[in-house]
C-alpha cells in the first residue's frame, strides 16, 4: 500500500513540475520527485543509490536550478506550447499503454543469493563505466567553463570600441604628450643644478 502512495506522489509531483507556471515552483516539485524516487529506491533494496539520488538529485541539482533561475529569470512562456494539449496527452497515453502492455506484469525471476557485492560489481565488473563517468565529469566541467566565460555581443563590442576611441584623444590632449605605456625619465640631479646656475 505504501508503495502505491509513494508512486502516486511521485507522478503527481512530476506532473506539477511540468504544469507549474513559475520556474521556481517547477524546480521545487522536481526536488520532491527526487526525494520520493530515492525512497522508492531504498524500498527496492538499492540503498547506496537511494542516498546518492537524495543528495545529488534533491540537493545539488535543485540548488543548480535555483541558481540558474535567479540568473536567467522567469520568461513566462507557459502559455505558449509546441503541441495542442489533447494531442500531447493522446500521444503519451498511447506510449504508456504500449509500454505497459509490453512490460507488465513484472515478476521476480532471478536468484539473489549468488550475487557479488556492489563494490566488486562497480569497481571490477563495471570498471569501464567508472572511466566513462570520469570522462563525463571532466567534459562537463570543460563545457561549463567554456559556456560561462564572459562573452561580449556585437553591440557590446561596438560600445567598448567607441569608448576606447573617445578616451584616446582626451588622454592625448590632457596629458603631457607621452604615450600611456611609455616610461617617464627624470632628469639627473647634476643637470638640474647646471640649469639653475
Amino acid at each position: 500500500m505504501i508503495d502505491a502512495v509513494l508512486v502516486a506522489g511521485t507522478v503527481l509531483c512530476a506532473v506539477r513540475a511540468i504544469r507549474a507556471t513559475q520556474l521556481l515552483s517547477s524546480a521545487l516539485w522536481l526536488a520532491g520527485v527526487s526525494a520520493l524516487v530515492s525512497i522508492l529506491l531504498y524500498r527496492l533494496g538499492a540503498h547506496q543509490i537511494a542516498v546518492i539520488e537524495l543528495s545529488v538529485g534533491a540537493g545539488l541539482v535543485t540548488v543548480l536550478f535555483v541558481f540558474a533561475i535567479s540568473i536567467a529569470g522567469d520568461d513566462g512562456l507557459t502559455e505558449r506550447e509546441f503541441l495542442p494539449n489533447w494531442l500531447a496527452l493522446g500521444l503519451i497515453a498511447l506510449f504508456a499503454g504500449l509500454l505497459g502492455w509490453m512490460i507488465l506484469p513484472l515478476e521476480e525471476t532471478g536468484v539473489a543469493a549468488a550475487e557479488a557485492t556492489f563494490e566488486s560489481v562497480l569497481w571490477s565488473d563495471r570498471a569501464l563505466d567508472v572511466l566513462v563517468q570520469i570522462v563525463l565529469i571532466f567534459s562537463g566541467v570543460l563545457c561549463l567553463v567554456t559556456l560561462l566565460k564572459e562573452r561580449h555581443t556585437s553591440a557590446q563590442r561596438q560600445a567598448l570600441a567607441g569608448k576606447e576611441e573617445r578616451e584616446r584623444p582626451s588622454a592625448a590632449a590632457s596629458g603631457n604628450g607621452h604615450r600611456p605605456g611609455a616610461a617617464v625619465v627624470d632628469p639627473a640631479p647634476a643637470e638640474v643644478e647646471e640649469i639653475h646656475a
Binding site: 507522478v11 540558474a68 529569470g73 520568461d75 507557459t78 557479488a116 559556456l147
Partner: protein, 101 residues
C-alpha cells in the same frame, strides 16, 4: 499487486510526464526539468529490472552512471540556458531557430 508492479507503474508515469513536458514546453529551463523527470523514470526502471532479475547490485552500478550523466546534462543544459538568455534575451526554444546559418 506486488511492489515491483507499483514501481513499474511509477516508471510509466514518470516517463509519460517527462515526454509530455518535452512535447509541450518551449522554455529552455523547463526542457531540462522534463529531461530530469524522464531520466528519473529510467533510473527507477534500471533498479526495478535489477531487482526483478536478482541482480540488484548490477542495477545499482548502472544507476550510478545514469546519475552522473544526468547531473552533467543538467549542469550543461542550465549553463546553456543562462548563456542563451544573456545573448538572445529569451528562453524561448523557438527563438533559437532564428540562429540558422
Amino acid at each position: 499487486m506486488s511492489a515491483l508492479n507499483w514501481v513499474t507503474l511509477g516508471v510509466l508515469g514518470l516517463l509519460g510526464a517527462g515526454l509530455y513536458g518535452l512535447l509541450i514546453t518551449r522554455n529552455l529551463i523547463k526542457v531540462v526539468i522534463a529531461l530530469q523527470i524522464l531520466v528519473k523514470g529510467a533510473l527507477l526502471a534500471l533498479v526495478a529490472a535489477g531487482q526483478a532479475s536478482g541482480q540488484i547490485n548490477l542495477g545499482q552500478s548502472l544507476a550510478v552512471t545514469v546519475i552522473v550523466a544526468d547531473t552533467v546534462v543538467a549542469v550543461v543544459g542550465l549553463a546553456l540556458a543562462v548563456q542563451v538568455k544573456r545573448l538572445v534575451g529569451t528562453l524561448d526554444v523557438k527563438a533559437l531557430s532564428n540562429l540558422r546559418g
